[in-house]
Amino acid sequence: MPLRLLKYAVSREHPAPRFFRDCTEPKKTYDAVIIGGGGHGLAAAYYLAKDHGITNVAVLEKGYIGGGNTGRNTTIVRSNYLTPEGVNFYNASVKLFEDLSEELDLNLFYSNRGHFTLAHTDSAMRTMRWRAEVNKHVGVESYVVGPDEISKACPQLDISCSGQAPILGALYHAPGSVARHDAVAWGYAKEADRMGVEIFQSTEVTSIDVKSGKVVGVQTNKGYISTNRVLSAVAGFTPRICEMVDIETPIVIHPLQACVTEPMKPWLDTILVSGSLHVYVSQSSRGELVMGSSLDPYEIHSTRSSLDFVEGLTSHITDMFPFLGNVKVVRQWAGMADLTPDFAPIMGKTEVEGFYIDAGWGTWGFKATPISGKTMAETIARDMAPDMIKSFRLSRFEDYELTGEKGAASVGH
């Protein structure tokens, strides 16, 4: 029993303070306004305060903090991407995640499980090797393994996938982890608040005030705020916010869905992903299987669940784990994924001075939370994007300088 829990038993009053203040009335002016109180927005606020000493910051959240894709993703953290830019970026994020519980003094249940991307076809094996080679080159521990090694890590997995899609091998990614997603948002909120950042929930931005190409303020349902630096970190709502400053992005919105089962005793220690079967699965510390699939094939601005999704996913899950037939799905949900044409995010400055963008995370960007916060904070503080995210700039779509994360998706199936 850790000593830290003692005080809860001995004190008469609950000895824990608020994570963050109950801010209701925004001030007239802030040095920076962050739209979106998800993980990314709160992390940006935290690093603005911590790394750059900019604490006169307001985070404006339409609903409640962490209520968007931060609370809907399947909590996987990894850096086994395909492009060197992607691998470097996500590797930096993994490194920040590893120390984040201590830094925020909140247990994020950051759990290093190891991550297998299963390959069922020759072409998938090729992509795995490609990713492994790039990862190795950048110094990230990923390598191609055979069925035996997969079986060793997960003896319950049917390597033949019920004869439907025999597993030929996998990309093993040692740093692959899961974390408690909500807590990441809460932890950043807590520490940002402690340094002076003000977090406003139920606060919606209705317009952004731009004068001669520069941001001068935002209009909210709680009044006008003047500021000359605004960060948009709103995932699926990016097109709506960008419309306010007359910026076009190539982002399209597709629903992405997930589900969980009833809790069961721990048996699945690794994180498994299968591109061919469109499945990713891990077991939470509560014992639930957390499962997701590929993006819904249609563009729609909705978080409604579909039966199709859960039928397809569970069918494929039983190919992998035939014994799960009577394990029950408790809940399914959906979020809005903001997709870019090259599957890489959009980060950095825009043509409107003082308007910064953090978007295009596709499958929700949970794993990038710390590094996106850190690099966006630097971008805002210096009005200049750090080298690490330069290839993610919005203008790349006009310049035809795409970042090829789509490469993996295209040849992976």
Partner: protein, 966 residues
């Protein structure tokens, strides 16, 4: 001791069919029709499980499929819900999540240290120092979870059924039955679904000595079961509501997907517990659970009990229990005002004392802490939720039934997009604005009085019929609720020592909410996530409403301002095997499939198709590598044939056919001569190569276009899509499965083919790129000269019905020439020797024509084609990478693999996309992406192998055939 009582009027058990089973090693007698919980309760076994977090002993709570603390395993299945699953003969059950038996569970120590485990405790510790976390995590993971998964559980593949109906009625209680009858009478086809084994809802257990209930139930049941327009599905639940009235009905045998014209939700309400200290002890249960026990299973909930209530339903339950000769010590009414009508009088006549304005301050546990020995009753202050300890009364009893109110079973309504409002008259969320084609009736609609529920069902049935145009009658009027509210606005009793449980799944007490709010989680969604209220397997069915009430009071806001968390599918946890169904893995076979298998073809998946990768003929001892080399060598030396039926084949015809292809593909087609073929390369909007096929001009306005096997569906879909956009006069016919195709290749191919056709095959008459129609082996065929695997090759397309015939005839004719079939592996090698790249093998999701030596296929001077705008921009920019053909140094040490990197000055310069040893060339040859400056013939570059070795390779001209040293 048995708690089973004499036969009740409408009991669900079959006393003629006794059975025995085992629970925790103990033999139990039961009847067919018992659920596990009713059978155990009848045998006076009350510890049915341990709670998830604190491992507290738990018994019955709802008896309505949310008793998540009574989960069992029979060694095969896990997390069996004892409250609803029927008991069967010889079942051997134990409670899940216990160590050392349910009574002596070693985990029960956690309850003793619960003061150290405040809400969200796991966020506050275990992370410093970092290296200790894996230790704690292991402990936490093992403590969490419910049942163990059985890894030997058989694979379940349950077929799905599909059904359509005019009206789907969810819930066969009074309002649902009435709604179904009304809609059916109006001529609608009705499906009526109920999760109970028998229909009737609360009519089957909530009698309150009203003799008419039984006859009403009988009459409604008969009318419904005998109605030609009504199909009843009992023992099944509506899993969720999905767009356009799609509702999966989950039965034991599998799922029926119902697409309804309209949906009437008459799903009733879940009874909610009042919250007081030790309201979780075995023996304390909801009144409706006690009524179900008595009236359905003829089991006493206790021998001597107390009824605590905050509405009139507790009185009804008291009457039901008294009628079954259960001793009721008192009715404790938390309200000052008491019950309406003659309920109080009836209860008093039954010899039961009524304590108004009182509450149970706490339950006194029995000495073994596994049951109830008494309750402490105090005056209750409704405004402060405090008990007045100055006037304590101790009532000895062995059980408590509790009523505090109801929460609507509105999950389906929420999923359909219903806007709800909080109704003060019933202290409940009720529909405010229903979506089109969705109706609500009965308790879920805030209608509680039986007469009015029947009317409300009639109204909803009529409205549904009218919505469908089956009726024009005006629906009957229903009276809004009057009098005492069925739900108490705040049925909570504060206690300084806590253990007054709100969420029994997750062991959440009142103070947990208060403390969570103190820590800033004072929004219902944040509170849910921080406390985990409603996140257990019962999904908040008995806890969400109290959580909302508590938060409203903490924040001093009206309940409607707090709102509700989102109710997501599924209504009850639903088995993976049911949802997954039989699985659907379609494979396509070509017309020659059986032939390939017979000849030793090793089949590989190619998209949905199965194709021979190579052949290992019976009786011949070959490695796969040898087989591939021999097959390829046959093509080079004599002849080989491959089944190309998987190619996409699309006929494009109509006035604008040529113009359409000009827009769709990069090349020129307007000038193409009839009887000729041209490469058809498709780009996406960004200028990336998507596909390359061949377009043959059959006639002035008729083309026959092939695509790569893997792209057949994509290209056809894109053609259709663009046709819509462009509005051209073109018709598309997808012939992919209709036509078989085979490529006969190699120096002897002409001689072989000439034996089966009159067609002039000589070079001058039938040159490279030409197309002819002729009889081949007596079958009308489309023949073209293509040079993908060999300079001399004929691609022969015939109707699939004749595919095998033609294939066999050619194989026969070729026998004397040494003709062999070859598979996709040899094809890959052969095209590599020819210097042809494969789209999406040698190219990736960003490769444009300038990078893949495909400029010659792009007619930039055309007015428009897909991707042209992007190419115009790309044209002005320096190329970043180039696809080249290479030969590996002969003295290499480790054979590189595809996707090994090309390294230049320590950095990534590109990658190997294809690599193979060619026996014909006698060298390892391949394709690679390299930097533009490395792309000249003769340039040497470095490849890093799996083990980190550097192997050198040299860029060569396109075709390797010139390197043939044989």
């Amino acid at each position: 001791m048995t708690l089973r009582i004499a036969e009740q009027e409408n009991e669900w058990i079959n006393r003629d069919m006794p059975l025995t089973f085992e629970y925790e090693g103990q033999q139990i007698e039961a009847y067919e029709g018992d659920t596990i919980s009713s059978a155990l309760w009848a045998a006076d076994i009350k510890v049915l499980g341990r709670s998830f977090k604190y491992h507290r002993a738990r018994g019955l709570l709802s008896f309505a499929n949310h008793d998540v603390n009574a989960l069992m395993t029979d060694g095969v299945d896990t997390n069996i819900r004892a409250d609803v699953i029927p008991v069967t003969h010889n079942m051997q059950l134990t409670a899940v999540n216990t160590d050392g038996g349910v009574i002596k569970d070693k985990g029960r120590y956690i309850d003793k240290i619960s003061a150290f485990l405040p809400v969200g405790f796991y966020y506050k510790t275990f992370h410093k120092p970092k290296w200790m976390f894996p230790f704690w995590e292991d402990k936490i993971r093992k403590a969490a979870g419910l049942g163990e998964v059985n890894f030997n559980y058989p694979r379940i593949t349950r077929a799905k059924r599909y059904a359509h109906c005019d009206v789907l009625v969810v819930g066969a209680g009074a309002s649902g039955l009435s709604a179904a009858l009304e809609a059916a009478e109006a001529g609608s086809q009705v499906i009526l679904v109920d999760e109970n084994r028998k229909i009737g809802g609360s009519l089957t257990y909530d009698m309150a000595t009203d003799v008419n209930t039984g006859s009403l139930l009988k009459q409604l049941t008969e009318n419904v079961l005998n109605h030609a327009n009504i199909q009843v599905i009992a023992d099944a639940y509506a899993g969720g509501y999905y767009t356009d009235h799609l509702v999966p009905i989950v039965e034991k045998r599998g799922i029926t997907k119902v697409r309804a014209g309209t949906v009437i939700v008459a799903s009733g309400a879940f009874e909610q517990p009042p919250v007081f200290r030790y309201n979780d002890l075995p023996g304390v249960m909801l009144s409706s659970a006690a009524q179900r026990l008595v009236n359905r299973y003829s089991v006493k909930p206790f021998t001597k009990g107390v009824l605590v209530t905050a509405n009139d339903y507790g009185y009804r339950a008291a009457l039901d229990l008294a009628a079954a000769k259960v001793e009721i010590v008192a009715v404790i009414d938390m309200r000052q005002t008491g019950a309406e009508g003659d309920l109080t009088e009836k209860v008093k006549q039954a010899g039961i004392a009524v304590h108004l304005g009182s509450c149970i301050y706490e339950v006194v546990p029995s000495s073994d802490k596994l049951g109830v020995s008494a309750v402490i009753v105090c005056p209750y202050n409704e405004a402060t939720a405090e008990a007045d300890l100055h006037q304590q009364v101790v009532l000895n009893c062995d059980g408590v039934a509790m009523s505090a109110g109801w929460a609507p079973a509105a999950a389906l309504l929420y999923q359909a997009g219903t806007q709800m409002r909080y109704d003060q008259a019933v202290q409940q969320f009720v529909p405010n604005q229903l979506p089109e084609g969705v109706f609500a009736a009965g308790k879920v609609n805030g209608i509680f009085e039986l007469e009015q529920r029947l009317l409300d069902g009639k109204r909803a049935g009529a409205e549904a019929a009218r919505y469908l145009g089956k009726s024009t009658a005006d629906p009957v009027a229903v009276m809004a609720h009057r009098g005492n509210s069925p739900s108490h606005p705040y049925p909570i009793v504060n206690h300084p020592k806590g253990k007054n449980f709100v969420d029994f799944d997750e062991d959440i007490q009142v103070k947990d909410f208060i403390n969570a709010a103190k820590e800033g989680f004072d929004n219902i969604e944040l509170m849910k996530r921080f406390t985990t209220v409603g996140m257990g397997p019962s999904q908040g069915k008995h806890s969400n409403m109290n959580a909302i009430r508590i938060l409203a009071r903490i924040r001093d806001l009206p309940v409607e301002k707090i709102g509700s968390t989102t109710a997501r599918p599924f209504f009850h946890p639903t088995p993976i095997g049911h949802l997954g169904g039989r699985g659907f893995h379609p494979h396509r076979h070509t017309a020659m499939h059986e032939w390939h298998v017979k000849e030793g073809g090793v089949m590989m998946e190619a998209g949905v198709w199965l194709r021979p990768a190579y052949y290992l003929p019976l009786g011949i001892n070959l490695t796969s590598q040898q087989a591939v080399q021999q097959e390829a060598m046959a093509v080079r030396k004599s002849a080989g044939m491959i089944d190309g039926s998987t190619l996409g084949k699309i006929e494009v015809f109509g006035k604008d056919a040529a113009a359409f292809l000009e827009r769709f593909y990069t090349g020129k087609f307007a000038s193409q001569k009839v009887g000729n073929s041209r490469i058809a390369m498709l780009l996406d909007e960004a200028g990336v190569i998507v596909d390359d096929g061949v377009a043959v001009r059959l006639d002035q306005d008729k083309f026959y276009v092939s695509t790569n096997s893997s792209n057949a569906a994509t290209v056809y879909r894109e053609m259709q899509r663009n046709l819509q956009l462009w509005g051209m006069q073109v018709t598309l016919v997808n012939l992919t499965g209709v036509m078989s195709a085979m490529t006969l290749a190699g120096p002897s191919s002409r001689s072989i083919l000439s034996e089966l056709t009159d067609l002039d095959l000589l070079e001058e008459a039938f040159p490279q790129g030409a197309y002819r129609e002729a009889l081949v082996a007596g079958v009308k065929a489309r023949v073209m000269r293509v040079a993908f695997v060999s300079d001399l090759a004929f691609e022969i397309h015939v109707p699939s019905s004749a595919g095998l015939h033609v294939w066999q005839k050619i194989m026969e004719a070729g026998k004397t020439y040494g003709l062999r079939p070859f598979g996709t592996d040899a094809q890959r090698l052969l095209r590599l020797e020819m210097g042809h790249h494969l789209i999406s093998h040698d190219t990736d999701g960003l490769t444009n024509p300038f990078e893949a030596h495909a400029e010659s296929l792009v007619a930039m001077d055309k007015a428009f084609f897909i991707g042209q705008r992007s190419l115009k921009i790309l044209q002005k920019k320096p190329v970043k990478k180039k696809l080249v053909t290479f030969v590996l140094d002969a003295d290499f040490g480790e054979l590189p693999k595809e996707c090994n990197l090309v390294i230049e000055k320590g950095e990534i310069a590109g990658r190997v996309t294809s690599i193979s040893f060619s026996e014909y060339v006698n060298r390892v040859i391949g394709f690679a992406f390299v930097l533009p400056e490395q792309a000249k013939a003769g340039h040497r570059f470095a490849i890093r192998t799996d083990s980190g070795r550097i192997e050198m390779a040299e860029v060569v001209e396109h075709s390797f055939l010139s390197l043939n040293q044989g």
